[in-house]
């Protein structure tokens, strides 16, 4: 047998699996979003594009725009994700930078410590905060010890605890790619900038920061994608309808009630928002590569 076909045959079972259970399901999602409901409020998928009904998608799309039914959900999602991302950058950049630039003897230890949370179940990490943030938990006792008479109810729909929890949950995914990107920057470029008279600040702003932009964008994409689909952080840390995000709304429609079509349509809206973000990312990173280094 031709060796070339031998290798293709090896890849076939895996590719077949992915077609069946990764690609076909997305088509089913579209068919349900474009389908109808019967008298029992059960979804009836429209399998052929010719029979598609855009009603649910229209409802989801117009609902997601300002003034629409789900606008507060979309707004919450955008605001919380943006704030959590900002927190990721504010904490993650110094950590990745320190690790890439300054650490020598303790590098292996620090890397292990930074990878550890990656492999502790996300739900366990949230469970830990449920204990700490509860009304009689350590966070409030610390606040009382420093003189805050009536500390807030962190688990009753407080946006701050939700944003902090999101950042806490996804920071490990942000730091590692950023560290890899910063570590790749040639130190000689920095030395050259310094020799040519740049201040430390100037060298950072005009050399390190632009050179780390692709890694920054990549790490950002890695945390933003799962945050958009996250409903469990919200359910565990807030549980209040005031902080509902897109993921919660989808979860409610799909698992909670007879609105599977609308849920599927909302998933498509979510994917469209993400695709716009991804396109911006690709545009920014290609411009980055084409521009002056």
């Amino acid at each position: 047998m031709d060796a070339r076909w031998y290798w293709r045959a090896l890849a076939l079972p895996g590719l077949g699996w992915l077609c069946l259970f990764a690609v076909v399901p997305v088509y089913v999602l579209v068919a349900v979003a474009m389908g109808r409901i019967d008298e029992l409020f059960q979804p009836v998928p429209a399998w052929l594009p010719g029979t598609w009904n855009a009603g649910f998608l229209n409802k989801a799309l117009s609902g997601a725009l300002p003034g629409g039914e789900y606008w507060s959900t979309v707004r919450n999602t955008l605001v919380y994700v943006a704030a959590a991302l900002a927190l990721c950058v504010a904490v993650g950049y110094p950590v990745a930078y320190y690790l890439a630039r300054h650490v020598r003897r303790t590098k292996a230890l620090l890397l292990v410590l930074l990878v550890l949370p990656f492999w502790v179940s996300y739900l366990m990490r949230m469970l830990a905060w449920v204990g700490l943030l509860s009304t009689d938990g350590y966070v409030n006792r610390l606040l009382q010890a420093v003189g805050v008479a009536r500390p807030p109810d962190w688990l009753g729909g407080h946006p701050l605890s939700l944003i902090a929890a999101l950042a806490y949950g996804y920071l490990p995914f942000f730091i590692l790619p950023l560290y890899a990107g910063l570590d790749r920057i040639d130190r000689r470029v920095l030395d050259a900038a310094r020799d040519l008279g740049a201040s430390p600040r100037g060298a950072f702003l005009r050399v390190t920061l632009p050179l780390s932009a692709p890694a920054l964008l990549g790490g950002g994409a890695l945390v933003v994608l799962p945050m958009f689909g996250d409903f469990y952080t919200n359910d565990l840390i807030s549980g209040s309808p005031r902080t509902t995000m897109l993921g919660n709304q989808v979860n409610l429609f799909i698992l909670g009630g007879p609105q599977k079509n609308l849920g599927a349509a909302l998933v498509i809206v979510m994917m469209v928002i993400l695709l716009i973000g991804m396109a911006a990312y690709v545009y920014a990173s290609t411009r980055q590569r084409g521009g002056p280094a």
């Binding site: 259970f21 492999w119 799909i254």
Partner: protein
């Protein structure tokens, strides 16, 4: 090299402080939660002394004696083993096929492999749920929500990880061993079995252990593919009872999960490193010997 480059930022005290504070922030809460499984009282937030009652002491509420908890543990382990048993061979074959596949179709095949990695997990879970509940065509009609659907979902998101780990090792092995075997008359299948697979074995073991950890930790897909109480995994149980009045036995269960996944990833890392070192040593010794003879 002209020695260590001068550090223009002086001693980075602030950076060091931020880094170590972050490390503490990321790890201490989990350690505290694990510690609370040894709480003497019923609270999961107020420390009332040390005891092992929530692990095995309490005759009905402890981890050992709570049927829901032990069932979640065995269900999680079952899922992880099944995921491992299916995703590892499937992923290894896919990695081999993709690495040696040149020309038409290879780009599309690579994109397909990466698809589960870039899809948000909720999208994947919703799509799979609709697939198994709305499609009345074989093979999908044969799968019902429950352990079967859970395993299928987990295998789907685990596959790319196996491929990435195995392909990394394949690239570092290069094509020489296989070509040598083929030159000596081996068929492609023999070259794979006799030359390539032994060299790949550390990566295969490591990826299997990673799949185990991924499966144990997974929540969204496992939750969406579940059918009833009997298909509850540990993360699902944590989701369902973290905000309720659960006892510290819940923390004990979560601690078991943390220890299992950290042990399997730690084992994956160390076996991979050790096996590679052992493989490198004989060849380097042979090389030194050859060079000594040449001299």
């Amino acid at each position: 090299m002209t020695g260590r480059p001068r550090n223009p930022w002086g001693r980075p005290r602030v950076l060091a402080a931020v880094t170590w504070l972050y490390v503490a922030w990321s790890l201490v809460p989990v350690a505290v939660a694990m510690l609370f499984s040894f709480n003497d009282g019923r609270s999961r937030s107020v420390w009332q002394g040390f005891s092992t009652r929530w692990w095995w002491g309490d005759p009905s509420l402890s981890l050992l004696h709570n049927a829901d908890y032990t069932h979640a543990l065995t269900h999680s382990l079952t899922l992880a083993l099944l995921d491992m048993a299916i995703a590892t061979p499937l992923g290894v074959a896919l990695a081999l096929g993709l690495a040696r596949w040149r020309g038409r179709g290879s780009r599309a095949a690579n994109l397909l492999m990466l698809f589960p990695l870039v899809t948000p997990e909720l999208v994947m879970a919703v799509s799979l749920l609709l697939l198994f509940t709305q499609v009345a065509v074989v093979p999908f009609a044969l799968v019902e929500l429950g352990i079967g659907a859970q395993v299928i979902g987990q295998v789907t998101f685990s596959l790319p990880y196996v491929v990435v780990v195995v392909r990394g090792r394949l690239l570092s092995i290069g094509g020489e061993y296989e070509e040598a075997a083929r030159d000596l008359g081996a068929s492609p299948a023999q070259a794979l079995r006799l030359a390539l697979l032994p060299l790949l074995s550390p990566a295969v073991v490591a990826s299997a252990l990673l799949v185990f950890a991924l499966s144990m930790d997974d929540f969204v897909v496992t939750q969406y593919m579940a059918s009833d109480q009997s298909t509850t995994s540990i993360p699902m149980l944590l989701y369902g009872s973290a905000r309720g009045s659960a006892t510290p036995a819940l923390n004990a269960l979560a601690s078991v999960m943390v220890v299992l996944t950290l042990a399997s990833t730690g084992l994956a890392f160390t076996t991979y490193r050790l096996a590679l070192r052992r493989m490198r040593e004989p060849s380097q010794a042979a090389l030194r010997e050859l060079m000594a003879r040449e001299a």
